[in-house]
Symmetry: D5
Subunit: 146 residues, 10 copies
Amino acid sequence: MNQQQLTEILFTAKKQKGLKFADLETLLGRDEVWVAALFYGQARAELDEAQKLGQALSLDADAIEALQDFPLKGLGPMVPTDPLIYRFYEILQVYGMPLKAIIHEKFGDGIMSAIDFSMNVEKETDPKGDRVHISMSGKFLPYKKW
Amino acid sequence: MNQQQLTEILFTAKKQKGLKFADLETLLGRDEVWVAALFYGQARAELDEAQKLGQALSLDADAIEALQDFPLKGLGPMVPTDPLIYRFYEILQVYGMPLKAIIHEKFGDGIMSAIDFSMNVEKETDPKGDRVHISMSGKFLPYKKW
Amino acid sequence: MNQQQLTEILFTAKKQKGLKFADLETLLGRDEVWVAALFYGQARAELDEAQKLGQALSLDADAIEALQDFPLKGLGPMVPTDPLIYRFYEILQVYGMPLKAIIHEKFGDGIMSAIDFSMNVEKETDPKGDRVHISMSGKFLPYKKW
Amino acid sequence: MNQQQLTEILFTAKKQKGLKFADLETLLGRDEVWVAALFYGQARAELDEAQKLGQALSLDADAIEALQDFPLKGLGPMVPTDPLIYRFYEILQVYGMPLKAIIHEKFGDGIMSAIDFSMNVEKETDPKGDRVHISMSGKFLPYKKW
Amino acid sequence: MNQQQLTEILFTAKKQKGLKFADLETLLGRDEVWVAALFYGQARAELDEAQKLGQALSLDADAIEALQDFPLKGLGPMVPTDPLIYRFYEILQVYGMPLKAIIHEKFGDGIMSAIDFSMNVEKETDPKGDRVHISMSGKFLPYKKW
Amino acid sequence: MNQQQLTEILFTAKKQKGLKFADLETLLGRDEVWVAALFYGQARAELDEAQKLGQALSLDADAIEALQDFPLKGLGPMVPTDPLIYRFYEILQVYGMPLKAIIHEKFGDGIMSAIDFSMNVEKETDPKGDRVHISMSGKFLPYKKW
Amino acid sequence: MNQQQLTEILFTAKKQKGLKFADLETLLGRDEVWVAALFYGQARAELDEAQKLGQALSLDADAIEALQDFPLKGLGPMVPTDPLIYRFYEILQVYGMPLKAIIHEKFGDGIMSAIDFSMNVEKETDPKGDRVHISMSGKFLPYKKW
Amino acid sequence: MNQQQLTEILFTAKKQKGLKFADLETLLGRDEVWVAALFYGQARAELDEAQKLGQALSLDADAIEALQDFPLKGLGPMVPTDPLIYRFYEILQVYGMPLKAIIHEKFGDGIMSAIDFSMNVEKETDPKGDRVHISMSGKFLPYKKW
Amino acid sequence: MNQQQLTEILFTAKKQKGLKFADLETLLGRDEVWVAALFYGQARAELDEAQKLGQALSLDADAIEALQDFPLKGLGPMVPTDPLIYRFYEILQVYGMPLKAIIHEKFGDGIMSAIDFSMNVEKETDPKGDRVHISMSGKFLPYKKW
Amino acid sequence: MNQQQLTEILFTAKKQKGLKFADLETLLGRDEVWVAALFYGQARAELDEAQKLGQALSLDADAIEALQDFPLKGLGPMVPTDPLIYRFYEILQVYGMPLKAIIHEKFGDGIMSAIDFSMNVEKETDPKGDRVHISMSGKFLPYKKW
């Protein structure tokens, strides 16, 4: 079973069960963004997480095992063409250097970890148009000198 | 005066005045990320903002005028090689599709605006290592049907 | 069912029914360009739109459901090689900067939305050779300051 | 004098004279988009047009001559990173195939010319947010068989 | 039936019938280069042309219909690696700017159409080695001013 | 003196002398396309050719010597963005495979040389619009077996 | 039968017959490098060569016919990642300009043909480590002037 | 002094002294290809070699020192556009896999070194057209197992 | 059997047998990194190694034979998107030039072989977080002069 | 002062002082690889480190200040062409996936940090040819779940 097949199985099962990612957040005790990342093979489940999800979605043993693998991460296309994903790439194009300047000024030489990292998405109702609120938290890793 | 020259003038003046972006945030009444974006020509100042900044940094008339121009935006290199900036690109590679799934589930067909958009950066002190906290807020734009 | 299969099913059914996009424009109350975008998975139908189209084209339940999904948008290849599509890319290459200058002069700093956007195509009969007339209307989105 | 220098001279002169592209449209009897294209070397002036513009902007003889040259056209970077220009590229990504289907259905096999072509930009005031209205007209060129 | 399948069907049938492109030139009253373009989906047949070809090659109804479709044009790979095709790309690399200079000097600002265009190939016998003679004729399209 | 400087010197001198490429064709006894190729460093002059051209354009000794050098050939950018040059690239994209099929059928396995090669450009007056006629002649080089 | 299938058939048959390329060199009277090129569809067999090879490898009629076709040449990936092939690319990167200088000095303006070309590989036993000896011979093609 | 400046100094001096690479081969006791590689910064001279060359070409101390540096190697553009250099790239595209097959069959798993490597170029006079003969010798490096 | 299929067979068998790479290191007398390279077709087994591995993993004869083939090496995507692999690419981006400077200073002009090369990975337990220790050893290959 | 200028100043000063990176390792109490990284702007000095280095190399105040800046990291060209640096890229191409498999098996889901990271280079004298020994140590960062 390759990752694309696993992703299709998971989305089909979720639709048939009438579940939302928010329901799976409650079930697994993990943020819905992380759960969606698991659906796309960008995160990896422990045995008990795979079993809970397997039960909720009526997955077979192969799918439950596949949820515990280490697939290749990364979406692939260098510059995304999907408009929703592109906007985040554009933010990086436009605000990448300003972010670098601010983080170096506040923290010194180093980076924000993309591994010891979490992110969540909230919907803010607004009469002028709802807003997407995204919050990221990553450990600052100072460059080691040696 | 091209944008790169303007950027150098601004950073040199800021260093000579001993100012931090947080000081300019107070001065201009604009978030420090936006101010850093202005330094890189990724945002554009109104006349009064350009003048306030010009006074604080002792800029000449040309620089004050250039702050009000519309330069080409975007950093240029398609895949960034600077490690700090790359981490954000990696977040997009790894969590782009999950974000798309979550946003579509919460909002329907559309995107988060990168224009009607704000972002700020905070430092969270943590005994296990400080954390970078980034918060983004963008208007949800539903696809128009016609 | 992936998007490419859905696209083939839709075009085959349309040909067998002897329908033109203009007929579907009348049927759905949506512009024919939008309907063609739906055929290629670049737009998304609501339940009632999917059902109307399903009835007109005798689609099965899977196709009707697939019309309501959120596929990856974008053609993929960075520089198109099809001559018809390339001409629009060339217009962008040749007139992109002039457009930027005119829009900034008329509206200030911001963009024309590609989301709150509509487009239609008309045929103008002309003895010196018919003309394609394309009309686009997009909401101006001013850059937010924060 | 290379094209980039000419572009800077033209924009500087226009700013010093306090002229807008709409003023130059009146002066030259050419649409303001075409005039902006001339500023970027994407269009070419005849002798009388170059002289009229030269007089209005107080250009020297070299600049007036350079306006009549044939520079290399095209913006260069394959995928534009400026957000305003990118939106048009995105429209091409998202609506390129639908446009191809509609144009072929209405006109047969061929293309819309990007040479025998005109475009203009209008501002539509709208209480929900102003709109950019772009209108393109290109001659349909049917594929010749031989 | 996709284009690649159609191309294979056509070449296999042509080989089985023992026909050369020159024979099909006579049959269809179209130049052999155009016929070869049709085989690769780079040109499109009218109903009667598709039927004549169908009869000559004993094609079934699906193939005859497919000959009248509008497939995506363009070979795909940006820089060709096949030596025969590359030589034409090299001619463009080496003589592209000279061609531009000559055509602008003779015709003014504009292009040679690749749509209102024909090309043929002849074999010139020569004791020092046969020569390929290629002749292209394209309508000159002057840039429209507006 | 690098090639770009030489090209500028040659074009400036030609404009000041009021000469056309057709005049230089007569002077040098070489086709005007070849002469234009020489201007761009894509061809190389013998001593007597360089001297004749030097006299006609009043070039200094350095330029006359530079005309006899072996510069790097090729325009550089992989996919051209200038519309005039792109049309030839598009011809290659659309008709490259058909050309390959026709040449193999007429000549066997081999290529048309881009070295033992000549090309000329003629203007065909036509009431429906003038036509560009390009004629290429290249030696056929059969693949050697060994 | 596509080229990849033919390549697999040929390598499998050669392995089953226990033949080396040197054996096929003797059988066909062609250098083993050329024979290997034929296996990868980079060269083309005449009827008698295809039949001899067919007999030696017990090929069926389809494979024998396919050996006489004109497949697309070129390996595809622009920069090879296989270490053995990359070394030849590196030689080109490092010694390409020096080769150009030497060949121009010895022969004048022109190229070494890659068509009227042969190459062979020999193993030189050496106590300090065996050496690969590659010998290439290509016709010099002087640039034609016209 | 950067490498490009050094290369220009060396070629200019060689032309003024009326020397050929073959003369420098005799002077330095190194093959002319290696000497040309040194001119382009693709090889590195020892002190005595730099001094001998410095004397022959009347170089100043800076140039003699620069000949002993370790510049970045590699010509840069991934796919060369100069026709002479491209032919070697094409040989790699067409004959790369056959070479791999032959070398593995003769030597086992490993590569031909591009470091412990030499190459020379000879002119073979031939009434049907002179031939370029290139001879490469590289140490075979078997993959180490560990 | 292609390489991808072989890789899947090997990983599936290893999982079913409950073996770790460290177990296979003991079995084959080869470092576990080399064994993993063999799983991905980046190394090649001798007959006895293939048989030992075949016995341990209950492979069939085809798989045992395939382990002795010479597949194309190299992972393919030019810039890796998997975060674990990317970090090594980043190390190259950030520390590549420093490494070049240090190696040239210590060894002179040459390279570290990637063929006569070994690498191993160790886990260092550390209360502040375990560390990955990677050790590479490659033969220095001085550039040959000739 | 840009980074390239700083790099040149540092290398020139080091050569004039007759210092090796090993001497600077002793002076600064930092590994020589880190010092070389500092020379290329890939690492950043604290005030006292910049001053010590400034004294040893007789740098002026500007250079000492520039050593404390945060330049853009990354060498730039996506695939390196310098043979020494390419070998490390090749190691990544060939052994990247095996490394991923081994690290996941030993540590679980996560990466080796390229930030909390050190590397050193040693020369191993060996009668069969000296060896480069590179040792890397990076903190393992397990993927955080949230």
